[in-house]
C-alpha cells in the first residue's frame, strides 16, 4: 500500500526513501500501515504460543512441554495478543482513519506519532527475548499477581520495562488521538456529528490516559518489591498481595474496554453501510459508549470475587457489573434496529460485523453470568472464564479488526480484495473460532481450572475438539495473509466510494487517498 502513496506524493516534500522513510516518517498513513503490519506479525507470534498451549492440551498427560514453559506460554500469549496484536491494530486503524474521517491533513502530533509506534518493536524485542534467558520468560500469568510473580528470575525486570514502554507508547498514542479529534475536525463537524468510530476512539483514548499510568505504578511497585526490599505486596513485611490485584484491575478493567470500544465503533460503521440505512440511535450509541467507559472504573473487583472481600464490597461490584449490561444491550439492540428493514448485502466486512454481533453477545451473556457472585465462585478461574473472554476478544475485537481491514483496504490501497477468498476466510474463521472456544464453556463448568498444563481425563474430549479448532483457526489466517498480498499485487482500480451504502468524508477522497489527506478542510453541513 505504500508504493502508491509515493506516486501521489507532493513534489515539494522530500522524504528519505528505503528503510529511512519508514524510520523517519511522520505521515499518518505510513505509521498506520506500520502499526497494522506490526499487529499482524504479533498476531502470528501470539498465535503460535496459543498453538503450543493447545497442542499440549490436545490430550491428557504431558507430551510436549514442561509445566514451567507452559506457564510462560500462557503469560506471553496474553501479553503479546493484548499489547502487541489488538491494541496496535486499533491504533493503526485510528491513524489511518481518524484524519480522513474528520477532514484533517494528518494527525495533530506527527513526530509523537512516529515515536509511539517505534517504541513498540523495541519493547516487544525486549519482552520476547526473556523467553531465551536462563530463567525463562514471565510465567505468573499476564496479571502478574504477587507473590508468585516475584518468584520470577532474571527476566523479571525486562518484562517490567517492556510493559512500561508499551504503556508509554499507548499514552502518547492516546494524547495524539485526543489532540487530533478535538482540534482538527473539518468546519461544521460538531462533536455530535462525528463518525461513530471517531467517538469510540476519543473515549478509548481517555480510558488509556486514565488507566495506563495505574499499570505503570503497579508494576513499578513489583519491581521495587523484588529488587529494593520494599514490601508493598509482601504479607510478611506488612504488605498486601490483594492490594496489587485491586490496583492491577483498576487498570485492567478499563483496559478491557480499550480493547472493545473501537470495535463497537467499527461495527457501528459497517452495519449501516451494508444495510443502506443510517445508524439507529446515533445519540444513544454515543451515550452508551460513554457510560460503559465511566462504569469501567467502578467494576474492577469483579475479577477478584474470590479473594474474600467483605459482603458489601461483593454486592457493590456485582450490581455495578450488572449495570454494564444496559448500555451494552442498547448497542446490540441499536445494531439490530439498524439492519431492520434495511437493504442488506453480505460482503466480507458485513459478514464479520454480523458474526461480531452474535458471538460478542454470547460473550456478553457469559459475562452477565460471571457477574453473579454466588455462581462466579464456581466459574472463577475456570475455562468458563477463558471461553468468556476469548468470545469477546476473538470474535469480538479481532473480528471487528478484520471487518475494518476488509472495509477500508480498498480505500487505503485503491485495490479491491478478492471477495470469494474473503468469504472463504470468514467462514473458516467463524467455524473454527467456535470449535475452539465453545467447548471451553463445557469443560469450565465441569470443573477444569484455567492455566493448567495437564488435566483429568474426563475433560479430554472437549479439549481435543478445542485443539483441533485452534489449529484450524490458525491455518485459516494464512488465507488472510494471502488475500493481503494478492490485493497489494493488483492495479489501482477501486472507486473512490468503494461501497455504495458507505457514508463519511473518507469516501470523498481518491482511492488511495492523497499523501496529505485533506489539504483543504472540507465543509460539513
Amino acid at each position: 500500500m505504500s508504493t502508491n502513496i509515493d506516486k501521489l506524493h507532493d513534489d515539494h516534500h522530500h522524504t528519505p526513501t528505503g528503510i529511512m522513510r519508514w524510520i523517519t516518517t511522520t505521515n499518518h498513513k505510513d505509521i498506520g500501515s506500520m502499526y497494522l503490519w506490526f499487529s499482524l506479525i504479533m498476531f502470528f507470534v501470539g498465535g503460535l504460543m496459543a498453538l503450543v498451549i493447545r497442542a499440549e492440551l490436545f490430550q491428557p498427560g504431558l507430551q510436549l512441554v514442561v509445566p514451567g514453559f507452559f506457564n510462560q506460554m500462557t503469560t506471553m500469549h496474553a501479553l503479546v495478543m493484548i499489547f502487541g496484536a489488538v491494541m496496535p491494530a486499533f491504533v493503526g486503524l485510528a491513524n489511518w482513519q481518524l484524519p480522513i474521517m474528520i477532514g484533517a491533513p494528518d494527525m495533530a502530533l506527527p513526530r509523537l506519532n512516529n515515536w509511539s509506534f517505534w517504541i513498540l518493536p523495541f519493547a516487544f524485542t525486549m519482552m520476547l527475548s526473556t523467553l531465551f534467558m536462563d530463567s525463562g520468560g514471565p510465567a505468573a500469568g499476564w496479571t502478574l499477581y504477587p507473590p508468585l510473580s516475584l518468584q520470577g528470575g532474571d527476566s523479571f525486570p525486562y518484562t517490567i520495562l517492556a510493559i512500561h514502554m508499551l504503556g508509554l507508547s499507548s499514552i502518547l498514542g492516546a494524547i495524539n488521538v485526543i489532540a487530533t479529534i478535538l482540534n482538527m475536525r473539518a468546519p461544521g463537524m460538531t462533536l455530535m456529528k462525528m463518525p461513530i468510530f471517531v467517538w469510540t476512539w476519543l473515549i478509548t483514548a481517555f480510558l488509556l490516559i486514565a488507566s495506563m499510568p495505574v499499570l505503570a505504578g503497579a508494576v513499578t511497585m513489583l519491581l521495587t518489591d523484588k529488587f529494593f526490599g520494599t514490601m508493598f505486596f509482601t504479607a510478611s513485611g506488612g504488605g498486601d498481595p490483594v492490594m496489587f490485584q485491586h490496583i492491577f484491575w483498576f487498570f485492567g478493567h478499563p483496559e478491557v474496554y480499550i480493547l472493545i470500544l473501537p470495535a463497537f465503533g467499527i461495527v457501528s460503521t459497517i452495519i449501516p453501510a451494508f444495510s443502506r440505512k443510517r445508524l439507529f440511535g446515533y445519540d444513544s450509541m454515543v451515550y452508551a459508549t460513554a457510560s460503559i467507559a465511566l462504569l469501567s472504573f467502578i467494576v474492577w473487583a469483579h475479577h477478584m470475587f474470590t479473594v474474600g472481600m467483605p459482603l458489601a464490597g461483593e454486592i457493590f461490584f456485582m450490581f455495578t457489573t450488572m449495570l454494564i449490561a444496559i448500555p451494552t444491550g442498547v448497542k446490540v439492540f441499536n445494531w439490530v434496529a439498524t439492519m431492520w428493514r434495511g437493504s442488506m448485502t453480505f460482503e466480507t466486512p458485513m459478514l464479520f460485523a454480523l458474526a461480531f454481533i452474535v458471538l460478542f453477545t454470547i460473550g456478553g451473556f457469559s459475562g452477565l453470568m460471571l457477574a453473579m457472585v454466588p455462581a462466579d465462585f464456581q466459574y472463577h478461574d475456570t475455562y468458563f472464564v477463558v471461553a468468556h473472554f476469548h468470545y469477546v476478544l476473538v470474535p469480538g475485537a479481532v473480528f471487528a479488526i478484520l471487518a475494518a481491514v476488509y472495509y477500508w483496504l480498498p480505500k487505503w490501497t485503491g485495490k479491491m480484495y478478492n471477495e470469494g477468498l474473503g468469504k472463504l476466510h470468514f467462514w473458516l474463521t467463524t467455524i473454527f473460532v467456535n470449535l475452539t472456544f465453545f467447548p471451553m464453556h463445557f469443560v469450565g463448568l465441569a470443573g477444569m481450572p484455567r492455566r493448567i498444563p495437564d488435566y483429568a481425563v474426563q475433560f479430554a474430549d472437549f479439549n481435543a475438539i478445542a485443539s483441533v479448532g485452534a489449529f484450524g483457526f490458525g491455518l485459516s489466517q494464512l488465507v488472510f495473509v494471502y488475500i493481503l498480498f494478492n490485493t497489494l499485487k493488483k492495479d489501482v482500480t477501486a472507486e473512490d466510494k468503494v461501497w455504495d451504502g458507505a457514508e463519511g468524508l473518507e469516501w470523498t477522497l481518491s482511492s488511495p487517498p492523497p499523501y496529505h489527506s485533506f489539504e483543504e478542510a472540507p465543509k460539513v453541513d
Binding site: 507473590p147 459482603l311 454466588p374 481425563v457
Partner: protein
C-alpha cells in the same frame, strides 16, 4: 437428560454426549445448590434474550436483503423504543440481582459452625488442621498420578486411577454438619476448590479467608487448586471423603492414635 443439556446440544451439536459432562454440577451442599440454581436461572434468561435478539437479526437478514429488492426504510431513531429497551433489561437485571444477593448473604454467613478446618496452601500441597479435634496432616498428589504426569512418562494416563485427582491423605468430613473452612497460604496465592461442595476461595499469605460447607450426601468429592501458583499448579488435587458423624469421629480417633504412636 436435563433440559439444560438438550439446550446446550442444540447450540453446539455434537452427536455423542453420553459421558460428556457439559454443565456445572449441582453438588451436595446448600451453597453449591444455590450457585447451581442461580447459574441455571441466568442461563435460561440469556437463552430467551438470545432467541429474541438473534431471531430478529435472522429475520432481518433473510427478508430485508437487497437481492430480494427490499428498499431501505428511512427511520433512524425512536426515543420510545430506546427507552423501552433500556428499562426492560433493567427490570430483568433487578430480577436477577434479588436472588443473587440473597444467595450471597447466605453463602457468606459462616456463623454457628460445628467443626473448623484450617487449610494452608503450599507450593505444591495442602496442609489441613482440624482445629477442634487437633488433627493435622499434609495432602499432596498421589504417587501414581505424580509419576504418570512427568513429561513423556510413558504411562497411559487413561489407566491411572483418578488421574491428577487423587491424593495421599484425603480430608474426612462429617455429613449434615456445618464445617467452617479457614484458608490461608504460606508462599503464594492458591485457591481451594471442590466444585460439588460449592465455590472456591483464595488462600492468600497474610489473610485468613472463610468458607463453609454442609455436605448432605456421603461420598468422595474431588477438586484442585484454582489459582495459578507456579509450575505445579495443575498438580494440587483435593479429595474430600464425606462420611457419617460416628465414622468421622472414629477416623479422628485413629488419627490421634497414629499421632501418639508416632511421637513415641
Amino acid at each position: 437428560m436435563r433440559i439444560s443439556n438438550i439446550l446446550l446440544m442444540v447450540i453446539f451439536p455434537v452427536t455423542a454426549f453420553a459421558e460428556w459432562e457439559t454443565n456445572m454440577p449441582r453438588g451436595v451442599t446448600p451453597t453449591s445448590e444455590v450457585a447451581y440454581d442461580l447459574h441455571m436461572l441466568i442461563f435460561y434468561i440469556t437463552v430467551v434474550i438470545g432467541i429474541l435478539v438473534f431471531g430478529a437479526m435472522l429475520y432481518s437478514i433473510i427478508y430485508h436483503r437487497k437481492s430480494l429488492g427490499h428498499e431501505p426504510a428511512k427511520f433512524h431513531e425512536s426515543t420510545k423504543v430506546e427507552i423501552i429497551w433500556t428499562v426492560i433489561p433493567f427490570i430483568i437485571l433487578v430480577g436477577m440481582a434479588v436472588p443473587a444477593t440473597k444467595a450471597l448473604i447466605m453463602m457468606e454467613d459462616t456463623r454457628d459452625s460445628e467443626i473448623t478446618l484450617k487449610v494452608t496452601g503450599y507450593q505444591w500441597m495442602w496442609q489441613y488442621e482440624y482445629l477442634e479435634d487437633n488433627v493435622t496432616f499434609f495432602s499432596k498428589i498421589d504417587t501414581e498420578s505424580n509419576t504418570a504426569r512427568r513429561l513423556n512418562s510413558g504411562v497411559d494416563v487413561k489407566n491411572v486411577n483418578n488421574y491428577l485427582r487423587n491424593v495421599d491423605n484425603a480430608i474426612v468430613l462429617p455429613i449434615n454438619t456445618k464445617v467452617r473452612i479457614l484458608l490461608t497460604a504460606n508462599d503464594v496465592i492458591h485457591a481451594w476448590w471442590v466444585p460439588e461442595l460449592g465455590g472456591k476461595k483464595d488462600a492468600i499469605p497474610g489473610y485468613v479467608n472463610e468458607l463453609w460447607v454442609d455436605i448432605q450426601e456421603p461420598g468422595t468429592y474431588r477438586g484442585q487448586c484454582a489459582e495459578l501458583c507456579g509450575k505445579d499448579h495443575g498438580f494440587m488435587p483435593i479429595v474430600v471423603h464425606a462420611v457419617s458423624k460416628p465414622e468421622y469421629y472414629k477416623w479422628v480417633g485413629i488419627q490421634k492414635t497414629n499421632k501418639v504412636a508416632k511421637n513415641k
